[in-house]
Symmetry: C2
Subunit: 507 residues, 2 copies
């Protein structure tokens, strides 16, 4: 039977006293293997032969002989005075890969989760003008405020207990007050659940409400991340077309075919950027009442509204407890914080809080405290006003450069948010993917609208996230697109120079 291991050496060694191989040989082989596998790094200290022998319960001679052999082979160095260590000059050996199961094990028979269609998580490329959606202008956050907030958080040592699953009480209070002020939602701290981003809020909502096979209406085109979560949950999707007035809620099936949930982005439809008109908001609430449905309102970038008047949130209009509202700090602050929030009718909220507790106990304490400081000090709202002015300028640039492309291409979604959509007219003969490929060849990254469809696309366009682009880059990038789209318009060809981004860093 395998025996004891050594305390000094954190690497456990197992000697088999009843095995065929002598103990010394077992010991040298195991140390060799650990060095070869990278478990013992070059320069790592080894215990003395006395300590090793004591820990393993073998005679000291066994340990001395093993070390002598390893020393002679060049695996270990030192031995006297400075102690024994793994030889520093060993040629770097590739670490053996983790073992992988052979064939198709039973525990890998589930369908694999949907892969993301969006290029999320890829770091921005240098020298590329990226119209990537969902990139806010975090650089406008005053450095001093940011440092000060984290200094305040780090002034307290971290608590040694878990926090409340629903979230930090201070943060919930300031979020509730903010929602009352800015979004017309009269809620209290207890109505708010802090989540690890909006995506976790959707995940918890789906888990709380849906059994596999339940149907959910989604916007088409729509937000791929929400769609993938629903597919992972086994939901049947009911696509709702979107026109200039938002989702066609008149197309919602009623009666026995009525979906359980309707997922919408009324403030700034993702990806088209249009707003759901008030008449449709009211009709959607009527539908929910008549068909016993739940509306999930994704209010992801409503902080950024420009000339347009505010429209009431579905949650603010609801009198029946049929709306779950989801917000996020990903657009108003930074996506990498992973913080969002959810307001839902009490019986649903209680289930969500339980699920949140099961899944990750609560959202990270330092992040919640930092947000509580940012909101309570008014820093978030000041930051929002600052970036709103900046986005308004950027949007003016887009309008100036791209509006002249009508009727071949028209801009949608400039009223709000931090992305717009450049729809390509069917008559134009333009192919969005070809335009995007040509733009990339000229240093400009855009995504195409077809990536946001669940089914076959019924329109073509480019998604233009402008939150993360400085004015000069934005204008250069827009001109590249205008040149590419205008190129075939007048039948002429632009010179390569005029149609390239030409920014210094780009090759």
């Amino acid at each position: 039977m395998p025996g004891r291991a050594t305390p000094q050496l954190n690497l456990p060694l197992l000697l088999d006293r009843e095995g065929a191989a002598p103990l010394q040989q077992q010991l040298t082989e195991q140390v060799r293997r650990a060095i070869a596998a990278g478990q013992l790094a070059p320069g790592a200290r080894l215990p003395s032969t006395r300590a090793l022998a004591a820990a393993l319960g073998v005679s000291r001679n066994v340990a001395v002989a093993a070390y002598d052999e390893l020393f002679a082979e060049g695996y270990i160095g030192g031995r006297h005075g400075s102690g024994t260590y793994v030889e520093r000059d060993l040629p770097a050996r590739p670490r053996a890969p983790l073992p992988a199961p052979a064939g198709a094990p039973r525990w890998l028979r589930r369908p694999p989760p949907p892969a993301r269609s969006e290029q999320v998580g890829a770091p921005p490329s240098r020298g590329l003008i990226e119209f990537r959606p969902g990139m806010p202008a975090t650089g406008l956050l005053p450095r001093a405020v940011w440092r000060q907030v984290w200094r305040a958080v780090a002034a307290e040592p971290p608590p040694n207990v878990y926090g409340a699953p629903a979230g930090d009480p201070d943060l919930r209070a300031v979020v509730a007050a903010y929602l009352g002020r800015a979004r017309g939602i009269a809620c209290g701290p207890d109505d708010v659940v802090i989540t690890s981003g909006a995506s976790q809020a959707f995940d918890l909502l789906a888990r709380a409400t849906l059994a596999p096979g339940d149907s959910v209406a989604i916007e088409e085109p729509g937000y791929p991340a929400a769609r993938n979560l629903l597919l992972e949950r086994g939901a049947r999707l009911v696509p709702l077309p979107v026109d200039d007035d938002g989702a066609r809620v008149d197309r919602l099936p009623a009666g026995a075919a009525a979906p359980l949930l309707v997922y919408v982005t009324p403030s700034h439809q993702y990806p088209l950027g249009v707003r759901l008109v008030v008449a449709r908001r009211l009709a959607l609430l009527d539908w929910a009442r008549a068909n016993d449905g739940l509306i999930v309102e994704d209010d992801y970038d409503s902080e950024f509204r420009f000339d347009a008047p505010p429209l009431p949130t579905l949650m603010g209009l609801d009198r029946e407890g049929r709306v779950a509202y989801v917000g996020t700090f990903s657009k108003s602050l930074a996506p990498a914080l992973r913080a969002g929030f959810l307001v839902a009718p009490a019986p649903l909220r209680e289930r969500i809080v339980r699920l949140k507790g099961l899944t990750d106990y609560h959202t990270a304490w330092p992040v919640q405290r930092a947000l509580a400081w940012l909101l309570a000090g008014g820093h978030l709202e000041r930051h929002i006003r600052r970036v709103r002015r900046e986005y308004a300028e950027r949007r003016t640039i887009l309008r100036e450069e791209l509006t002249p492309l009508a009727p071949r291409a028209r801009l949608l979604g400039l009223d709000a948010g931090l992305h717009a959509c450049l729809e390509l007219a069917p008559e134009s003969g333009l192919d969005a993917r070809k335009v995007a490929a040509a733009a990339l060849a000229r240093g400009v990254l855009v995504t195409t609208l077809d990536e946001y469809y669940h089914g076959p696309p019924d329109r073509q366009g480019l998604l233009l996230g402008y939150g993360g682009l400085a004015a000069a880059d934005l204008r250069r990038g827009a001109r590249v697109l205008a040149a590419l789209i205008g190129e075939t318009a007048d039948g002429g060809r632009q010179t390569a120079e005029a149609a390239s981004a030409g920014q210094p860093g780009h090759r």
Copy 2:
């Protein structure tokens, strides 16, 4: 049709031009309702009548008349010079509760998620000596190091893109190196997934592998949070008894009845505190190979090992790719950080990374960066050495005070971790719940072993988390327990004074 709303006032107002009520009356009623509902707080600024009229597209007379009426009623104040605002001296009105759905809506027909049986998330009570498990000594973390690490994190503005779902590359690299050094797991950065605590790792593992009705072996007694996650997933549970050598892996069903997953805590069984002996570790790996099963190794507090030699991790012993290893920073640092990690064979890890991306994109960036600094600077390992010494002292106190209770009660689990279990002998006639109630009456909080059982308990005991208790409190608390358990032992009765915690803060 409802009409426009006002931009200055973020609260949307909806005027119905075709409605029966005059526009002025609609306006006053809506402002009154917003004030009553708390959407407009006392002192909130209102737009000027000119701006309001313009935004709503009504004549200025309508706005002036509405404000006059609200002013006369005492809802608003100011009016000239300093602007119009909601009256500050309004009696506080209870905010109307959020609307709730009537009856049992379709979207609340799923079984409610399991509620937590443990008292997690409740703040510690002042004046109570709490033997709550899972409370590490965060106070020993040097304040200067903690502040310095967060200063380093806050020196960079937050990135304006999402991070990698598998986690920050720097953090994964230092975690992989740490696992090689401390746990004998030869893995590279790409093998590691950073999760929002160990519970999220279990959740992702369950979602990646289990369909409803699949069976999973768990330890009995075991960790309630992992059990609840499995129940929420619809798993059938196969309880494995635990003796002094750890889980009885010889009881694992084989063949067609073999569970898909086996969840174990081999380093320090939760809650009993015993360690899985090497023979059973090897037998468990053999079982997994023979029965095509996956072992989930929860190594939640292995950093804290005392006189006992280290035992090899299941992951370190595995040659077949049949182990998923889960670790956490909740015990080595602080639970409120919500950070853990997972190492799994490649095909399983890829699914988990996809699910992680769907669920919350990635773990909070500031937390990941702070941990990367703490690990790379050697601060975490220094902290672990420091608290290990401290825990060793605390454990000595427990041993001194409670070992004399044998054979009526015996201490288990002192070799490792930061909690022990005081098992009450069946012959003692003691009832753990009664002992716990009597202890609480004397200012000492302990949980009872029955809370950790899925089925009917087969032994009685008290769980003694000692990580969060200072030496003096620990000794006082242990003496209260000793007095209570000794009380009936010798048939005599202690005085209330001798058996009470008697710390100053307690009433």
